[in-house]
Symmetry: C2
């Protein structure tokens, strides 16, 4: 019992630390960028272009969620489906785009989006070098799960670059606060 | 013409440099390991186990090929199919296993192997932290293609850890010397 309370306190402390170190604003003047999911051939024909955070967020209302990795467990079975099933509700609230981002390359993200039947509903982006998540303080080492440097599991609602809502799971294997329903309540 | 010759000389010089810096032996006493392709659930039930190079290579004849990334162009359209189509010929030559490895996590490698219909024919492994390729001098930066630190495109034939044949493409977009037929000729 004491041990359980200790674990709970430790988890809460860790979560608070995570929240306090996370950014409150995406710097739209920075050179931060994400990479739109695409096939390799589309990558070549796009000259491996990236999408700046200004393009993604400036003057826009964006619901964004991040997860530890394409083709992993909770991400595939619960996290993405939660947003697919609720994408119309985000539109009803005036949200311009629902975005899934992960520390993966854009070709893997594209293959995963195809497999999940998410194309046309949610925009998928890679953060292949992890710079977006590092800048936001949402990077997370998952070497123990054979994934390497990845991100927390989280959701956020962003207006013109300002992070109005940020829900970060205490541990990336949790799926308690980063679901679509919880984010919708905060918008 | 002069410029073309210059480019050709530069490419040859680069290839020679790559070959001379590549290892001739896989150190079977090292703690180097790869990660067998598997689903996330299999990853959890395996306690995220890895496969040591000793397990993979000790006392064995292995045909191994490496490539820049799962779900990318030449890798998907040509490189893996070349080995799928020739896996029986490797067996006829007494090769114990045909192995595909890439700087990817093992869950992405598994999804790619499934999509390619390669399971049961070729063994897929991830080198999620790139340590295997760095140790062999076969690492290669592909940030320009939105992939980050990856590997050369190559094939090798390994007997009990000794690299008997090593075919490295001059640039990873080439597919001229790392195909199954060329490797078979060298065994």
């Amino acid at each position: 019992m004491v041990r359980q309370r200790g674990q709970a306190l430790w988890r809460n402390a860790m979560a608070i630390r995570q929240m306090s170190s996370a950014a409150k604003q995406i710097d739209l003047e920075s050179d931060l960028a994400l990479q739109a999911a695409r096939t390799w051939d589309e990558g070549v024909s796009s000259k491996f272009s990236t999408t700046s955070v200004a393009e993604l967020f400036k003057g826009k209302k964006v619901a964004l969620f991040g997860l530890p990795g394409a083709f992993t467990g909770v991400c595939t079975s619960s996290h993405v489906p939660s947003y697919i099933n609720n994408c119309d509700k985000f539109k009803e609230k005036g949200v311009d785009s629902v975005v899934c981002v992960s520390v993966n390359d854009p070709y893997t993200m594209n293959a995963w989006a195809e497999k999940l039947g998410a194309k046309g509903k949610i925009q998928f982006y890679g953060d292949f070098d992890g710079k977006f998540h590092k800048a936001l303080g949402l990077d997370h080492d998952l070497t123990g799960a054979l994934l390497g440097p990845r991100s927390q599991r989280y959701s956020m609602y962003v207006e013109d670059g300002k992070i109005k809502v940020l829900n970060v799971e205490k541990v990336p294997s949790d799926f308690k606060v980063s679901d679509a329903e919880t984010l919708l309540k905060g918008i």
